[in-house]
Amino acid sequence: MSIIRCENLGFRHDRAPGDILGDISFEVCPSELVMIVGASGTGKSTLLRLLNRLQDPDRGQRWFQNKRYEEWPIPQLRKRIGLALQGAVMLEGTVLDNILAGPRIWHEMIDPAEYLGLVHLPTDYLMRPARDLSGGERHRVALARLLANHPDVLLLDEPTAALDPGSRMEIGDLIRDLFQKWQDRLTVVWVSHFLDEVERYADRVLYLEGGSMVLDGPWSEIGKEITRRLFDKGYIEGGVLS
């Protein structure tokens, strides 16, 4: 049984000709870590936005826990399928304000220090202004903010982008460890730009090309084909998508 299911999703931007996404169908099973990979502009971020309902598709249907998206109250759906937008966006105020953003919306009580601990940041970070954080710290706080909202699914849009290789690996391992710790209640859909990450962490890989889902399977089966396709199109430089 799938937790998220999409059928024939199509999306077109108001101001640009042609489809950004065309006819995308896939399922995500509970407790699965799925990674979405593809060259820039293939609609990976758009797909995550459609899954969090920040946008609606022009065609096709989405289901969450076998109920159509339109049947869910929108705020509740977004809480349960949480999205960390690209670029580790920080909200106004301190780290504490960021971690409490979700619980304040939902009037829930949480221990902020616990969530800071989950992303390996010391408690004295709570009162720091979020705008003063480094890139890696922002990614950690964005992750803690998402987790503090108690989602069933984590949609992560390039959670390791713009980091040095060491920090990238640290955040990647952190996400994998959190996922393994809470695997019985957490599903992860992770858009990545790094093939080494995909190989290292993904249970299953979805490969997007030109707005269509071209390959779907474990890295061990489709990894070579993905690499070949990206290399042929000149998108790979030293294992990294450019």
Binding site: L54, D56, P75, R78, G82, L85, V89, L91, E92, W106
Partner: protein, 258 residues
């Protein structure tokens, strides 16, 4: 002294514009055409409105007064809504906001019998209220579009956590509404110290006792602050609604044009 300008003297004052034209020509500012156009417009527009007001004052019918205020609201709306290009239905929303601010304060003034329902009072006071509401609406819209472009991702982050649109946009909206209020609040703080306000100056030049003019001016300042607050708040509320689709998704708006 009573200000008394015969038309002949007014024409003589064109010498002042002549000085500006000469300076602009010598210094090559390239403002001659604009200066001439501005001068002609000043004469034509003010005399036109003078004749219209004179006719309305003489006729003294309520419907002419209301029509005049309506025309002012429409022109103010058109001007203010330019700052909000790209927002669906912005002309109507700006109009509703300006009309709300104007109507509520006017009703208060008339209801409490602070001014009489006579074109001589209603039109100039209404004009000031509408003018200030127009400036406030323009500022709110400009700031809103600028802030939304900068903070779009934050608004979407709140939405993605399950926040309502009103909650998500709160931090964009408050500075915009505050921005609309600032000129009025600032002018309240410095009134009389930096410059004498137009209405008071006009009343004194027309021969009024300065203390009487002061009372009138205080009324105007308080009324304007209220009108601007109502207009900015109504517009802010409307913006928090129209910036989202029925599915609680942030619409894409274009950057403000200056």
């Amino acid at each position: 002294m009573h200000a008394d300008l015969a038309p002949g003297k007014l024409v003589l004052l064109l010498v002042l514009i002549g000085i500006s034209l000469i300076i602009s020509r010598i210094r090559r500012y390239g403002l001659e055409r604009d200066l001439l156009e501005g001068t002609v417009r000043t004469f034509v527009q003010l005399f036109a409105v003078g004749f219209v007001l004179d006719a309305i004052f003489r006729a003294n019918h309520w419907y002419w007064t209301v029509l005049m205020l309506l025309v002012m609201v429409v022109v103010a709306t058109q001007n203010a809504s330019r700052r909000g290009r790209g927002i669906p239905g912005i002309f109507w929303w700006a109009g509703v906001s300006i009309a709300c601010g104007t109507l509520l304060t006017m009703m208060l003034l008339l209801g409490l019998q602070i001014i009489q329902f006579s074109p001589r009072y209603v039109i100039p006071v209404g004009g000031m209220i509408i003018g200030n509401s127009m400036i406030a609406s323009g500022l709110v819209l400009n700031r809103f579009l600028e802030d939304l472009a900068l903070k779009r991702e934050r608004v979407e982050t709140y939405l993605s956590l399950g926040a309502s649109p009103e909650f998500a946009i709160k931090n964009v909206l408050s500075p915009s509404v505050r921005g609309g209020m600032i000129p009025t609040v600032d002018s309240m703080k410095t009134v009389g110290l930096v410059s004498l306000p137009g209405m008071m100056t006009g009343a004194i030049l027309a021969g009024d006792n300065p203390l009487g003019a002061v009372e009138l001016q205080i009324m105007v300042m308080l009324v304007l602050a209220t009108a601007v607050m109502i207009t900015s708040t109504v517009l802010g509320y409307i913006l928090s609604r129209v910036a989202f689709t029925p599915s609680q998704q942030l619409i894409t708006l274009q950057q403000p044009t200056r």
